[in-house]
Symmetry: C2
Subunit: 247 residues, 2 copies
Amino acid sequence: MTINVALTQVKALTFDVFGTVVDWRGSIIREGARLNAAKGLSVDWARFADAWRGEYGPSMDRVRRGELPWTGLDTLHRQSLEPLLVAFGIDMLTENEQADLNRVWHRLDPWPDSAAGLARLRARFIVATLSNGSVALLVDIARFAGLGWDCILSAELARAYKPDPAVYRTAVALLDCAPDEVLMVAAHAADLRAARAVGLRTAYVPRPLEWGPDRAPEPYTEGEFDLVAADFRDLARQLDINPRWPG
Amino acid sequence: MTINVALTQVKALTFDVFGTVVDWRGSIIREGARLNAAKGLSVDWARFADAWRGEYGPSMDRVRRGELPWTGLDTLHRQSLEPLLVAFGIDMLTENEQADLNRVWHRLDPWPDSAAGLARLRARFIVATLSNGSVALLVDIARFAGLGWDCILSAELARAYKPDPAVYRTAVALLDCAPDEVLMVAAHAADLRAARAVGLRTAYVPRPLEWGPDRAPEPYTEGEFDLVAADFRDLARQLDINPRWPG
C-alpha cells in the first residue's frame, strides 16, 4: 500500500457528472425505446443520443466565444434537439412532448457503482458536483439517480463552461479550500487537465461504455493524473489508504 | 382540512438556517461550557452568544452599505469575535484556538425536529438552504447536524446579504422556478417579508427558544404569511394536505 502524498491534503472531491457519474447515452436509449413503442417509431436512439451529445461541445463553444450571452444547458440542449428531430424524421411530437424529451437530461441513470461509491467517499470527504449542467438540472439528476451530494456546484455559478478556469476557481472558492485540497474526478482527460492547470488534484475514472461498446478508450499519459481508478468504489479504496495527515 | 391555494404550485422550499434550522445560541453555550472547563474560565456564554449574534446585523450592514466589499460571514464573525474576547476577559486563546472558536458557527446543532422534518419534506419538494452563511459554512453545518439538502444556496452566490432582493432572486433563478413556486421558510418575519416582496411564498416557523427562554415572540400580522407552522414536522403535515395539482 503506497501512500500518494499528493492526495494527503484533499478535503473535497468535485465530480464531473455527464459520463462520469451518469450514463447519459444508455438513459437516452432506454427513454427512446419507450418513445418508439408509444409513437410507433423506429428511431435508432443510440445514433440519436450520439448526435445530440455531439452538439454539446459546439453549442457551448458559441457561449465560450461570446457569440451567445450566458445560456444554460437546457436551452442549448433544446436548440440542438430541434434540427435533430427533423433529421431523424420525428415530426409528431407536440411542444410539450418535445420539452419533455429535452428534459431526459434531468432523468439520467447512474453507473452501477456511482451511488454507493459516492456514499462511501462522502463519509470522509465533502463531495460536490462540478458539471456544465445547471444547478436545477443537477438537482433533478441527483434526486432521480439517488445520488447524495454535499453541494451542487455548476458552471452556471461562474457563468462560464468547463474547461474555462473560472469554473474550477469558483468551485475552489465556494468550498473555501486551497486548490490542492480539491480533487477533480472525471472520465474525461480534458476536464482533468484544465482542473490541474488551476492547481486541483485529479482522479481519472475511465467509463469505457460512455459512448457505447465500440469507442476506443481516451489516450492519456502515465502519471499525468494523481490517481486512476476503475470506478467510484475503487476510488474510495484508493483514497482509504491515503489518510489525511492529522490536523 | 383546508387546501391553501397559494401553495399548490410550490416545487421547492428554501430555508433560512441560523435560528430556523439550527440552534446557534444553545450550540455556542454548550461549546463555551467545554471551553470554560478546559481553560478554567467562568464566562457567561449565553451573554457571549447574544453579544456575538448581536454584531451579526451591524457587520452585514457594513457590506450592505458598501463600506466593505463583499466579505464572507466567517470573516465578519471573526471581526466581531476579537473585541468580544477582550470585553469578556478571554485573553489566553492562541491564534488557532480563536480560529477554532470562530468555527463554532460551522458546528451548530439542529432543533430536534429539523433533520426528520427536512427528510419528510424532501420526499415531495426540493429543499435548499437560503442563508447568509457561506456555501462552505452551510456544507459544514449540514454534515455536522445530519441535514439532507438537495442544494446549498447562499447569499454568497448573489454576493449580497438577505434581505437584499438579489439573494432571493438568485435562488429562484438557480432553482429554475417561478417565484411563486418557491416557499421561503424562516423563523424571522423580516426574511419572509423580503422574500414575499420578490414573489416567493412564505412559511413562518417561530423558534421561541432561539434567543433563550426570556425573549418575547416576534410580532406579525395574522394572514401576512402563507403558512405558520409550529416546527418542520408540522410544516410537512400542513403541506401534505396541499397536494400539488396533477401535472
